[in-house]
Amino acid sequence: MSTATDTAPVTASANPVSQSIRDSLVIARRNLIRMTRIPEMVLFGIIQPVMFVVLFTYVFGGSMKIGNTTDAGVYKDFLMAGIFAQTVTFATAGSAAGIADDMQKGLVDRFRSLPMARGAVLTGRTVADLVQTCITVLVLAVVALLVGWRTGSAEPTNAAKILGAFALLLLLGYAFTWIGALIGLSVRTPEAATSGGIIWLFPVTFVSNAFVDSSQMTPWLRHIAEWNPFSATVQATRELFGNPGVVQSDAWPMQHPVWASLIWSVLIIAVFRSLAVRKYRSASA
């Protein structure tokens, strides 16, 4: 084993883009293998939104006013867009904790000493988280149907619109895992990353149109809720699902929720991806 060339060919990669994709897939695969070895993590990720569906539907349903009615059935249909959106954003905590764990265990040091694409460790992580989010959303959709949620309950809809809604949800979830990546790189321990990845999500998801009709909020709060990036996706999803409670408002994101949702998500990815990759380059455990 005297030189590098006689046992293992280490060639300069031809194309940085294809190298980046390849390396990201290697890391994504690694994270997915991990998930299969820690199934309880995936399980908790599923139990939590299911619990929220049950709690909100049966505890709040009947006392929440949506439009002009407090009908529990209407609230159930209203609620699901909010629960879906909140669920996808909670992937943030997983991505933050995973990356903080890699830092603490010295794995980030190992990766950084390898001739691999710079952003691949983070991209691989977020892609794996996206796969997990897909599974969670799928299970959640089944549970929602079981408790009586129906698309098209207020306005007519179609399969393309429904798929579009899920695509927007997944894009939002993916964008938020990049925020998680930055948090994971910025804290000292995985425990801190878990709470740091989730605490701020409560105001973000509650000061919105997710669980209540935001048009009934005090004006200043309503303003925040309507411009909250999270609300745009909720509004878009609700509209595409044909569910009740779509907010009537002059705020641009509420009038053009699909566009607003797309713009917000892409913007979040652009900003947080570049911040996270820069942080990763100088990361030290």
Partner: protein, 335 residues
Amino acid sequence: MPGAIYAEGLVKTFGDVRALDGVDLDVPEGTVLGLLGPNGAGKTTAVRCLTTLLRPDSGKAVVAGIDVVRQPNEVRRSIGLSGQFAAVDEYLTGRENLQMVGRLYQMKGRAAKARAAELLEQFHLADAADRPTKTYSGGMRRRLDLAAALVVSPPVMFMDEPTTGLDPRNRQELWGVIKQLVAGGTTLLLTTQYLEEADHLAHDIAVVDHGRVIARGTSDQLKARTGGERVELVVHERDRMGAAAEVLAAFGKGSTTVEEHTRKLTVPVTGGAKLLAEVIRELDVRGIEIDDIGLRRPTLDDVFLSLTGHVAETEEAGEGSPDDAGHDQEKEAAK
């Protein structure tokens, strides 16, 4: 021509702390340099600068003929790093870990697979290859970590405290592996807190303290400066100390130091265990009862004491500290 690892005037500061304060190193190809020092001396920071993980504030670093600051990615192709922790994914199997590293060194899938199998065999991990590394012992995990650093048989290797936290048996075993590696022509820089380890593995030793190299040479040269081994004994009865001192004077190679209150006598010697046995026999013949006797080899503390006149300021919790300088810095900040 500069060596396989070359550094000139490396400086790295963290806030007010100068973790590296002008470090010069030159490791000829195919040799081993032991970087010896206490926690917080700057060993890890030096390794991190040389392996592209940290950018030095100033100074020059060249590894395998490539400038570390200017062409970090090219350097990464030619080095293997084994850190203070076994940096392997605990939920992946040994085989999966090595294959992943191979892929990330840009090997083709099949080549990575073959190389992983080869390394698992070589490091006696074949039986455990398909178990998650969570189930491995500490020694096994270190071996896997080392194997991961060797996936592409890099010409230059860095090992940061490879045996810290290992029990003596695993330490011995890892030493064997490292020796084999070096016999194959790899250039190696390893850091350690143990003089014994540097002695065992390194051709040359550089002693670091407060971010500077304060001495360099072969282990024999350093030991000569430190005074070599000595016999230390504790006499049972205070009034027999004089008699014991006489015995030691006969066997020793220097003046005997006597600590009255602890009834402890120390004398430098050469001759090792055989001489120790003779001393014990002689004490027995003269009927001098002893509480304790032992052969003391020079430790890092002794080296420091003789080089700097002060005891090595070892920071506690070395194992928990991923970056000794950062740890130092935190302590500084806490003051």
